[in-house]
């Protein structure tokens, strides 16, 4: 290699050297390379997967190091992938209703059916319209919960919370916090109007918009999970619309006055899926990781991850009695029976919903 270096430097003048150095520096710093070292797996995930107690058993069993990057919002994940080189990422966790749209972009690998313990996965998730795209699996349901209501039970009547119209209830004017995610909140509003999420059409958005804007006078703040948790714990709000187990389960042990519920007419089911990137160079290892996450042990650890708690998709998950109580394990059959899975919006409908949300925030 030394002669080659000589040959290059020998023909370089000062300007070329500077240009080359600048170019190399730019390439090494500007281009968003994640890269692989031998024995590493790169995963693009939600924050609940960045938990040592979840990752370490897999790393030890397979002799690999996992590089986990947490993101929030499918748009962010897509932009990270667009800016990465092919093969940089191996596994991804994604909002399950977005799977058809993302699969359509060719980003996700079709998964073999035997990768998941389908028989143990709650049927409402197994049969959700976004779990299979044209009969193929691109992301397996791994964790779920509901969009409902979190509240301070010292102040809020549980009956008010479960009626589903608390966001418009004058009794709680100025005491309402809203989880800052337009997609579920707009569907919850549709459900409060008697619409099934899957049936919501573009023509329904006008009425939903009116009801959304009518909610604003009661709203004190809108924020991400940490912000609404903070507002509830510090007493700035008494109710979080759009929150449920994922927002307060890990807070209840130290804040026993907090609780969560879903509306009597049902909650909106959310669930996240885990898949493998189509251009991964380590598909086998990535699929092993998917299997670990879906195993009974992995599911118990994922459900009670440091970042947020929620129900495991696998009904055989290993959970303590205390965790089952906080997650309302015994209520699941009732909750699931009356709840609905999310609608599958077109890109145009999604854009319209985001515009409505921005208008709501600004109103």
């Amino acid at each position: 290699m030394i002669p080659r270096i000589k040959a290059i430097t020998g023909s370089m003048n000062r300007r070329r050297f500077l240009a080359g150095t600048a170019g190399a520096a730019a390439a090494s710093t500007l281009l968003p390379r994640v890269g692989h070292a031998e024995g590493e797996l790169n995963i693009l995930v939600w924050c609940d997967h960045v938990d040592a107690k979840l990752l370490e058993p897999f790393e030890a069993a397979h002799g690999v190091k996992i590089n986990a990057k947490a993101y929030e919002g499918t748009g962010t994940a897509l932009s990270i992938l667009e800016q990465s080189a092919a093969g940089d990422w191996d596994a991804i966790v994604i909002d399950a209703p977005d799977v058809p749209q993302v699969a359509d972009l060719g980003i996700l690998m079709e998964l073999p059916e035997d990768i998941a313990p389908w028989g143990d996965i709650f049927p409402e998730l197994r049969n959700a319209p976004y779990t299979h795209v044209n009969g193929k699996s691109y992301a397996i349901p791994e964790k779920f919960g509901y969009y409902g209501f979190c509240y301070n039970k010292d102040v809020v009547d549980p009956a008010d919370a479960s009626r589903g119209d608390i966001a418009w209830n004058e009794k709680y004017k100025g005491r309402i916090g809203v989880y800052d995610y337009y997609f579920p909140v707009l569907q919850m509003i549709g459900m409060s109007m008697g619409l099934k999420p899957a049936d919501i059409k573009m023509s329904d958005l006008g009425a939903i918009r009116e009801r959304l804007l009518a909610m604003k006078p009661n709203v004190k703040m809108v924020g991400d999970i940490v912000s609404v948790q903070n507002a509830l714990v510090t007493g700035s709000v008494d109710v979080i619309v759009g929150g449920a187990e994922f927002a307060v389960s890990n807070l209840i042990p130290t804040n026993p006055h907090l609780d969560w519920t879903i509306a009597d007419h049902g909650g909106l089911i959310w669930n996240q899926g885990i898949g493998v990137l189509a251009n991964s160079n380590r598909k086998e290892l990535a699929m092993e990781f998917v299997k670990w996450i879906l195993s009974s042990k992995g599911q118990g650890l994922l459900a009670t991850s440091d970042c947020f708690w929620a129900m495991p998709a696998n009904s055989t998950a290993e959970l303590s009695d205390e965790a089952k109580t906080l997650l309302r394990w015994d209520d699941q059959s009732d909750f699931l029976a009356k709840s609905n899975v999310s609608l599958l919006p077109s890109a145009e409908m999604d854009t319209e919903m985001l515009d409505m949300w921005t208008e709501f925030l600004q109103s």
Binding site: E82, K220, L361
Partner: protein, 293 residues
Amino acid sequence: MPAPQTTLKDASRLGGLPLTRWAAYPALTFSLLFFVAPFLVMFAVSFWQRLRGRLEATWTLANYEKFFSRDYLVDALINSIEVTLITTVISILIAYPLAYILAFKVPPRWQRIILLLTVLPFWTAYVVRSYSWLLVLSDNGIVNSTLITLGLIGEPIALAYTRGATVLGFVHFFTMLLTLTIYSNLIQIPPNYRHAAADLGASPLQAFLRITLPLSAPGVAVGAFLTFVITIGDYITPQILGGNTEVLIPQAIILQISRSANFPMASVMSITLMVVVTGCYLAFARHLKMDKL
């Protein structure tokens, strides 16, 4: 024959090129790579569209039309300008007397210690500082608790999740910055100027208004410009302290990116923001004399 003398002119040349020209290359390269090139890309993308989940180079003005035809998006820009102007004015009103006292009333040996104390809050993370303010301003926070304990109020006052909270968070940060820029300008004003004014019969107020204030304008202008530019582009403070009760332009940009990866629409908003900042620069340009700092 006398030995050749190295002149200042010779020293400023390297390899036949003026040193100043060489010195400009790194800054020029940096600007080209990290400002001009990304800006041109962003400008081009602003004419694209995200259709059916994909970015498509459609070369249309549709995004600009949408931005300027939706009141709630234009309001985001107006809100940003309002919050920024309020922050800048309040920060100057607090920082100027602070810097003045520091420069002219505090003995020099104490000035360094006080300056150190002034910049101490810079050492904490921005997000942590914002959440700390939230704890102070919340309904159960120290302000409301104290007022209730003293019997001054019966119910908590809404302090958190308001525009006032956002402005407070900004002012806390930028007062420090402005104090430093104004102070560094004030200490360069020769004391003889004020003494001469006094000898000629000027009152302290006249000396301040006609000598100190005009000469310290560059420090105020630089600090105000930095405050304006950083505040108008800040996302964290309004997001945490404002509680999304109104949308500022950086929040509108993030909504477009994080939820739907709509880079074209986000680019339109960013370019609009840049136009405002450029206008601000042009307004301040006459006073932006960095050599005075």
